[in-house]
């Protein structure tokens, strides 16, 4: 699978996930605070949805940035270093994000 096919796959996933994300989080009431977030995040299904969302967001962001940078002639020769950093950043972002999502506990 070429990188741009991966980019299209994650693009389709993001259209769906981002729509859900925006409707659930940003429709009235507009105010967001800790108690509103934790209420939803206490549910295992939301944790799973958000981890999947995080995965596709990072995949799309990392692959997209890699594509933009390697199109630059001066940067193209550092392709391997860039690819390595991209994977590293993606994995680190995923671990940090997933740990955050999993850390939410139901209110006592």
């Amino acid at each position: 699978m070429r990188w741009f096919q991966l980019q299209r796959l994650s693009a389709v996933a993001l259209v769906i996930f981002l729509t859900v994300h925006m409707v659930v989080l940003h429709y009235p009431p507009f105010h967001i605070d800790f108690s509103r977030v934790i209420e939803r995040m206490a549910q295992p299904l939301w944790k799973a949805i958000d981890i999947a969302f995080l995965f596709f967001v990072l995949l799309h962001a990392v692959t997209g940035t890699y594509a933009v940078l390697t199109d630059w002639q001066g940067v193209a020769r550092y392709r391997r270093i860039l690819a390595g950093s991209a994977i590293g950043l993606g994995v680190a972002g995923f671990i940090y994000g997933a740990a955050t999502i999993l850390a939410f506990q139901p209110p006592m």
Binding site: A11, V15, I32, D33, F34, G64, T65, G93, A99, T100
Partner: protein, 115 residues
């Protein structure tokens, strides 16, 4: 070349894409603080709810809409091989971006004015 619809689409998609990557970093920084308890989370959230950030949110909205519509346009052109509609689909994407940014931006502006 620089005035062709293909170049405009390519340039704007990449520009908005990079802007969204920067936003993603900031977004993870704010949301990630939730594990440190309500006080830290609400403080960090409040830091990005100033009037400046409200206006930046409208720009973010425009970037997301454009990136999404142009992306969907690209998928449609490639999957259904409708290359002759490429330019008109770009104009559609631009019009939809403006309309939906105004629709979504107005509540943000009203929210900002109400304080």
């Amino acid at each position: 070349m620089y005035r062709s619809s293909g170049f405009i689409s390519f340039f704007l998609r990449r520009l908005t894409g990079l802007a969204l990557v920067l936003y993603l970093g900031a977004h993870l920084w704010v949301i990630g603080s939730a594990t440190q308890g309500p006080a830290v989370f609400d403080a960090r959230l409040a830091a990005v709810q100033s009037p400046f950030f409200k206006l930046a949110e409208i720009a973010l909205l425009a970037a997301v809409w454009y990136h999404a519509f142009d992306g969907v346009r690209l998928l449609l052109v490639n999957w259904f091989r409708v290359t002759s509609y490429r330019a008109s689909l770009l104009y559609t994407a631009l019009v939809m971006t403006v309309l939906l940014t105004v629709m979504g931006g107005l509540p943000i502006l009203l929210f900002l004015l109400e304080g």
